[in-house]
């Protein structure tokens, strides 16, 4: 019964969204009364989709296998958390989650956007409803999650064991919140283009939403990367897999958008570019959804490869993105440019940031789509692997990282590069010293490692330069410095922390790439081996039963160079329902470094084990966390000002025309 209720709710949400889209986009000039109706409709869409989603959750939790989706993807023995996360561990359910987050953002705009001018509000909520209608329609007509089985099976087919992990409970919701959150920027961009009005107030509305989505996307990608690292058992944390690229491209574009919106907000410049980036960012999110959901790529993310679905998503993409760009082409000339500045200035630095990030998006896009296009056109199957991306992406990021610390130190409008350079000279010296020291101690295993280290340290310390200077650390008593540190504007802190996080991630990446060690060997219980000073002793080999699997478990004792010992269990699980084996690597952290141990299939009582030592690998994800934290800090700062902006009712003419 509740399943039919959920189904009905989703249909109703689809209908309301379709009507709202039509009303909002056609009658947007009708003002306040329409705005009120659209706001209520947005909240209603959220309530209805939430009911639909909860109906699915309920069916999974009680193992109602008359629901086809539950029968295909669940199992009564699964732990509760995996029953719930299993709702979106499949194509249909993940689409419902996508829509749920879409309408949640719509409802949030309705709730927090009461001060938006009514025409802008109408257009934004209208566009948002259009997206909801499109995706709800796609879900209902091509991938209905509420299908019933007339003869329900006694037991479900279980979820892909790789997905039976806490990662599935966290990674997709975070990632979707990031992807879908950019729809708000998209809707605002469409609203700006249709109404022809765009000003600093617009940028102030858009930036918090961009920031919020960016935080989620940052965390979602980092979480996905860590999950792949520990679950897939390959020891790698990033593979430049098309599916990873699909999430990385919106992140790069979103990062560019954050910076360009800053220019627009503070200096009323870069308007057309900011609108363009808003459209691009969400288009890349949609492209990601298409790549992942259409089945044209084969990966753990591809649940169903029904070609009709891919075609439908592709047509939806073509209409939405094509329509947006057509609108952009027709209307962007009506947006007035403003804000003069010299090339060497804060604005100039932010443009440079946008230039490199946008180019990097282009490079990743080419590498991701080229094999697909080539396959479609000529039938030649190729793969564009990590070397391509490391070369192109690395070459584009190096200059960006090099100039990054200068950016926040340059004043708006016109700046002096030499003055900024003088303020950074101490940090540069520190970065060079540490790089030489570490290269001398650690040995140079790959030629680019010192350059990478230098850039990592440079960005990390450079990020702190402004904070240290403003607090006058070392020049006035420590207590006074501390008081100044606390009193610094949050925007200064969030900039510093955001860049610091990036520096940490770079350092982690360089460290693992250059100084990772690895050993593959045969080992029997009672024997031991050694890697980078760690003694790995194979204690015993047992069979252990889990809730819905049996596992061959190897128990190891690892003695660190300092004498500390740790117990590690590496498993090879076989899942009862599907008979699928998976490997669970054993991972032990030593500070920011990790030891990663994988157990191979036994052969005549001998066991192959593979052990990696990954120095400072945790910096990669720690950096991402710091970046997300910086975003949160920036949001708390914004709240104080966001209530205030009043849109300029008339376009302000610029002097120098």
């Amino acid at each position: 019964m509740s399943i039919e209720l959920g189904h009905f709710s989703l249909i109703l949400a689809f209908a309301i969204a379709a009507v709202s889209a039509l009303g909002g986009l056609v009658l947007w000039q009708r003002g306040d009364r329409l705005a009120m109706v659209l706001r209520q409709a947005s909240v209603l869409q959220f309530v209805l989709v939430a009911v639909a989603f909860l109906a699915l959750v309920q069916a999974f939790v009680v193992s109602d296998f008359s629901l086809a989706l539950a029968a295909n993807n669940s199992h009564s023995l699964k732990p509760l958390i995996f029953k719930i996360s299993g709702v979106w561990g499949n194509h249909e359910g993940s689409m419902v989650l996508w829509i749920l987050i879409l309408v949640l953002f719509g409802a949030l705009v309705a709730a927090f956007g009461r001060r938006l001018p009514s025409d802008l509000s109408n257009l934004v909520l209208g566009t948002q409803s259009l997206l909801t209608a499109a995706f709800a329609g796609f879900t209902l007509f091509t991938s209905n999650p509420f299908e019933r089985l007339t003869q329900p099976p006694l037991e479900g087919a279980d979820l892909n064991p790789v997905l039976q992990d806490i990662g599935l409970a966290i990674h997709p919701p975070l990632l979707y919140a990031g992807y879908v959150g950019f729809s708000i920027c998209f809707s605002f961009a469409i609203a700006a283009l249709v109404s022809g009005r765009i000003d600093q107030a617009w940028a102030r509305w858009v930036r918090p939403w961009t920031m919020l989505s960016w935080i989620f996307l940052t965390l979602g990608i980092a979480m996905g990367s860590y999950w792949a690292y520990y679950e897939l058992g390959w020891g790698g944390w990033w593979f430049w897999d098309p599916v990873e690229n699909a999430s990385f491209m919106p992140w790069l574009a979103g990062t560019a958008l954050l910076h360009s919106a800053l220019v627009m907000e503070k200096r009323n410049a870069l308007k057309i570019w900011t609108v363009f980036l808003s459209i691009i960012t969400f288009s890349l999110s949609l492209l990601g959804t298409f790549l992942v959901r259409s089945g044209i790529l084969t990966s753990v993310h591809t649940f169903a490869s029904d070609p009709t679905r891919g075609l439908v998503i592709l047509s939806m993409l073509a209409i939405l993105i094509g329509g947006a760009f057509l609108l952009f082409a027709l209307r962007s000339s009506s947006l007035r440019q403003g804000g003069l500045f010299a090339p060497i200035s804060r604005e100039g630095a932010l443009i440079l940031n946008n230039l490199f990030l946008a180019t990097a998006v282009g490079a990743v896009l080419v590498g991701t789509l080229y094999p697909l296009v080539l396959d479609a056109l000529t039938g030649t199957t190729i793969s564009v692997g990590a070397p391509f991306f490391n070369l192109t992406f690395g070459a584009l990021m190096a200059p960006l990282l090099l100039v990054l610390p200068f950016g926040p130190l340059l004043p708006w409008k016109r700046a002096d590069l030499v003055a900024a350079g003088q303020r950074l000279i101490g940090m540069a010296a520190l970065a060079i010293f540490l790089t030489i020291l570490i290269s001398a101690l650690g040995g140079v295993s790959i030629s680019l490692a010192p350059l990478g280290l230098l850039l990592g340290f440079w960005v990390t310390f450079g990020a702190l330069a402004e904070v240290i200077e403003r607090a006058r650390i070392g020049r006035i008593p420590a207590r006074e410095s501390l008081r100044r540190l606390i009193g610094l504007p949050r925007s200064i802190w969030s900039t510093a922390l955001g860049h610091l996080g990036l520096g940490l991630t770079v350092l982690g990446v360089v460290s693992v790439s250059a100084w990772e060690t690895e050993i593959v060997t045969t080992l029997n219980p009672g024997e031991s081996t050694e890697l980078s000073g760690y003694i790995i002793a194979f204690d015993s080999f047992d069979q252990v039963a889990g809730p819905n699997y049996v596992a061959d478990t190897g128990r190891f004792t690892v003695t660190a160079p300092g004498g500390r010992t740790a117990q590690l269990d590496a498993e090879r699980r076989t899942y009862v329902a599907s008979g699928m084996p998976t490997t669970e690597a054993a991972i032990q952290s030593y500070g920011l470094s990790q030891l990663y141990l994988q157990l191979g299939e036994p052969l005549d009582d001998t066991h192959v084990i593979r052990v990696w030592h990954k120095p400072y690998i945790l910096l990669i994800w720690l950096g991402a966390l710091v970046m997300a934290g910086a975003g949160v800090l920036s949001l708390t700062d914004r709240r104080l000002r966001v209530g205030a902006p009043q849109p300029s009712r008339k376009a302000v003419p610029k002097a120098a025309e």
Binding site: L232, A363, I382, V384, P387, F388, L396, M580, V608, A656
Partner: protein, 157 residues
């Protein structure tokens, strides 16, 4: 059009500034394009079936992806040293891989191995791609098998 800046102010006019920005943009884009094109020429990896490898005379040492089925009864293991035969029904190529094979590596199932051909006509794999699902055969392998008339869709999919 654009009015020149007052004569006494130093620096460039608005037009010159815009030109400088556009020139900078063009330079970065040109470099990026050159990079992408070079990398595409040198860094892409072609996928070959054993028949392709034989027919095209792939140079030893060139990075390729070899895909096909693991021939029944061909997998020999001693410690971490594995040898197996990749077949597409037409041609067979012996591959060697040192390390732990993916969980779902089985005889008679599809496999994609990254590596290069040696001068002795044997393939040395640096990486054997894991599959995520027991029903899943890499798309490239399906195409290669179809080309050899060896594709037998199994039940269930």
């Amino acid at each position: 059009m654009t009015a020149p800046a007052p004569a006494r102010r130093k620096g460039m006019t608005r037009k010159q500034k815009r030109l400088a920005v556009i020139a900078g943009l063009a330079v970065v884009l040109a470099i990026a394009t050159a990079l992408v094109l070079t990398a595409l020429r040198d860094q892409i990896v072609f996928f070959y079936s054993p028949s392709d490898v034989t027919a095209r005379d792939v140079a030893p040492g060139q990075a390729i992806r070899l895909g096909g089925l693991v021939k029944d009864g061909s997998w020999v293991r001693s410690g971490q040293d594995n040898t197996f035969v990749v077949t597409d029904g037409g041609m067979d190529i012996t591959a060697r891989y040192v390390g732990i094979l993916p969980d779902l590596f089985r005889e008679g199932q599809g496999v994609v191995a990254e590596g290069s051909m040696g001068t002795d006509g044997r393939f040395t794999a640096t990486n054997v791609l894991a599959k995520h699902d027991e029903n899943y055969v890499p798309k490239e392998v399906v195409e290669a098998l179809k080309a050899q008339g060896e594709w037998r869709p199994e039940g269930g999919q």
